[in-house]
Amino acid sequence: MKFLFADTADTVDPAFDFERTRSPRQRRVHDDDHYPHEHLIRAPYDGILLSRAAFSDHRRSGKYGAARSMRFRREGARTFLRYPEAEFPGSIVMGDCGAFSYRDADAPLYTVDDTLSFYADGGFTHGCSVDHLIFDFFTDNREPSEEARRRQEITLTLAADFYRTSVALGKRFTPMGAIQGWSPASMADAAVDLVKMGYRSLALGGMARSPTDDIELALKAINERLGASKVAIHVLGFGKVEDAPRLKRLGVTSFDTTSPLLRAFKDDRQNYFYADGNRLGHYTAVRIPQAADDRHARASAKARTVGQEELIRLERIALGAVRAYASGEGELEQTVDRIIDYVSVVLWKDKKSEKSNTAEFAKLRSIYLRSLGERPWERCDCRVCHELGVEALIFRSTNHNKRRGFHNLAVFHSLLKSQAKVSP
């Protein structure tokens, strides 16, 4: 089973100065930055999914601005992402229309023709047909809403057109038929239709927010109807990375997600991955936000009475303590106390009572005792942990947090590969 990373301009600056928490003055965004496969020793995925929603055009603005998006169309994905086939043999570069980004619109934002030009310009190896999301999912055989039925029709009509026209992209391009449905049965129906059109590769859509149990039901229904036909199935946007092995058992050949990266800075607790035997384990990164960055200082009423200069002093003490502890000087308990001294000012929540704030900091204290006490960065051999040490476990700047995300990708990917070796 292949794991594709869904990119949305997630890069780090390799020359970032962690001591001063800033990039060098000459740094150029994108050109000087590193994608995960450039930064780590091994690419932490088997391919990259690029959504059209990541690129700016006349309909909307994406993570990549106008000039950079025009450059993408010129250079193609491999050059743009610095992900050459020669260096990453057999890797996939998949495109999709970003249906989620136009979910509220009446019809898909893009035509079949301009989607194919986008795929052609990008030099994609795989590309999904133009689809329209259906959010309903009923496990009983209830009648669908008018809207769900209409959206499935749109998706299938465009898929037929897309398959026919995609011949223009040549044999090196694999067209993927997008499955949209409101129930396991309706998804299976769609899959059968797509195979009849000629598709040998299907993409299950609209399940990014669904529980794994629902995805399993859909996959089972699809498998039953398709029987022994040799069809590859990709699951679009799979967030529950812990459940990835369950997909494999249901014949899924690939899936994509950003989850391991996003967890590094969107999850309060489970934001640093490690391999706990055959399963995914977690530590909690230590929050030491930047005092000089006023957003953080302003977030707290305590900060306002403490003042920015005092905050900067407490921050310096906390950072110094963690770094000293990691290098073998200083005691664990005192180190965590210095972190809590700072955090209890900067992370103080106005809306909560003093009691619940205090309880929260007590809880954080015991969590941080585990995170720092077990020194997980010393057991990891990814470049991030190897180079940065404890810094990888500090929740701070984008460069800290995205590097931790890269580490998570590496842990997740190697776990997936080792599970593949264990199970047949």
Partner: protein
């Protein structure tokens, strides 16, 4: 806190009501007699302080300058305001002991913060202090001192090419400004005298628009190959841009000569920005550099544009020529359209073109 004496001070006789003195001091000496208090509300709603928050990027720039420049100077004074807690004895400023420094930093907080972090802790700063009778008067002085107008942007851009070692966020802008200057004033330039600048009000094309075109190419297009070297940028870089515009003027003479942005969208922001991307596409696809290269590359567009009349047929909409506007969306709409025409003049027939 004990009494602090700083000086010698030079007393200026500007006002009999508000004494003003100037003297030299280090960053830490200044912070021992004055504080930076940011505007905020106490829980009871009372306003305290008046400074805006630190701007980290700005402080970093000043700090880099102080640390990395060979002979840095900060000739502007850090301005301090006092109401009480201080007196002038002969030529010395005497600051009374108290639990907190009695003065406020009225101007120069970012410079002062940068100076506290620089390697040279003895860097002497010029201080100008005034002694108010009330906090209200202090606030008034703060507003007066901080409400000066910055220089007009276009004048700053035009001055930029002659200055070296400016903060890096200006560097793409500086490179673009250099090229604009060359395009507007060099003998033989296809845009000679056409760019409207602070010093050339008669120009037809706004300088910031041409800068926009050049900056996109500098960051993500053909000009990026020469962006780090001024002489290359003004040599082959300039030549490529000039050749492209020469070709454009030749191929689209009817849409260009004698026109203004109102009468032709080609000399309007939307046409120029879109054509900038066409230049990059031709430079990338065909390695176009000479005028002839560009003339040949532009050929597929002939007869398929609507710069002065008629309407555009885009993949998902039709637009009357004069409805295209100076917006990011319209720039990209036209750019994508023109670029796909020069790349695939006959539409999507791809199996053969790879």
């Amino acid at each position: 806190m004990k009494t602090i004496k700083l000086g010698p001070v030079l007393q200026l006789e500007q006002s009999s009501a508000v004494p003003v003195v100037v003297f030299r001091a280090t960053a830490s000496e200044i912070l021992s007699i004055a504080r930076i208090e940011r505007a905020d509300r106490r829980e009871d709603g009372r306003l305290v302080g008046f400074q805006r928050p630190q701007i980290q990027a700005h402080i970093n720039e000043i700090q880099d300058y102080l640390d990395e420049d060979e002979a840095p100077i900060l000739p502007n004074a850090i301005v301090l305001g006092f109401c009480g807690g201080v007196s002038i004895k002969s030529d010395v400023l005497v600051v009374d002991g108290g639990s907190v420094p009695p003065g406020w930093v009225v101007d120069g907080q970012q410079r002062l913060t940068a100076a506290t972090r620089t390697q040279n802790q003895d860097f002497p700063l010029l201080v100008s202090a005034f002694l108010c009778r009330s906090v209200a008067e202090l606030h008034k002085q703060f507003i007066l001192i901080n409400s000066t107008r910055p220089l007009p942007r276009d004048l700053i851009y035009e001055l930029m090419p002659g200055v070296e070692g400016l903060p890096p966020r200006l560097s793409d802008r500086t490179a673009a400004a250099l090229l604009v200057e060359a395009l507007n004033y060099r003998e033989g330039s296809p845009l000679k005298g056409m760019i409207k600048q602070h010093t050339n009000r008669a120009g037809v094309i706004k300088d910031t628009l041409i800068q926009r075109v050049l900056m996109a190419s500098l960051s993500d297009g053909a000009l990026s190959a020469w962006r780090d070297d001024t002489s290359l940028l003004l040599g082959p870089g300039y030549a490529m841009v000039a050749n492209f515009f020469s070709a454009l003027r030749q191929v689209f003479a009817d849409d260009w000569e004698g026109h203004t942005p109102k009468t032709s969208r080609l000399v309007h922001g939307v046409g120029l920005v879109a054509m900038g991307y066409v230049m990059d596409a031709l430079a990338f696809d065909r390695e176009a550099r000479s005028k002839d290269d560009f003339v040949a590359g532009l050929e597929p567009l002939v007869g398929r544009t609507a710069f002065r009349s008629g309407e555009w047929e885009f993949t998902d909409q039709r637009r009357l020529w004069n409805t295209l506007q100076n917006t990011g969306a319209d720039y990209q709409l036209l750019a994508t359209h023109l670029v796909s025409l020069v790349r695939r003049p006959r539409g999507l027939r791809l199996a053969s073109d790879r």
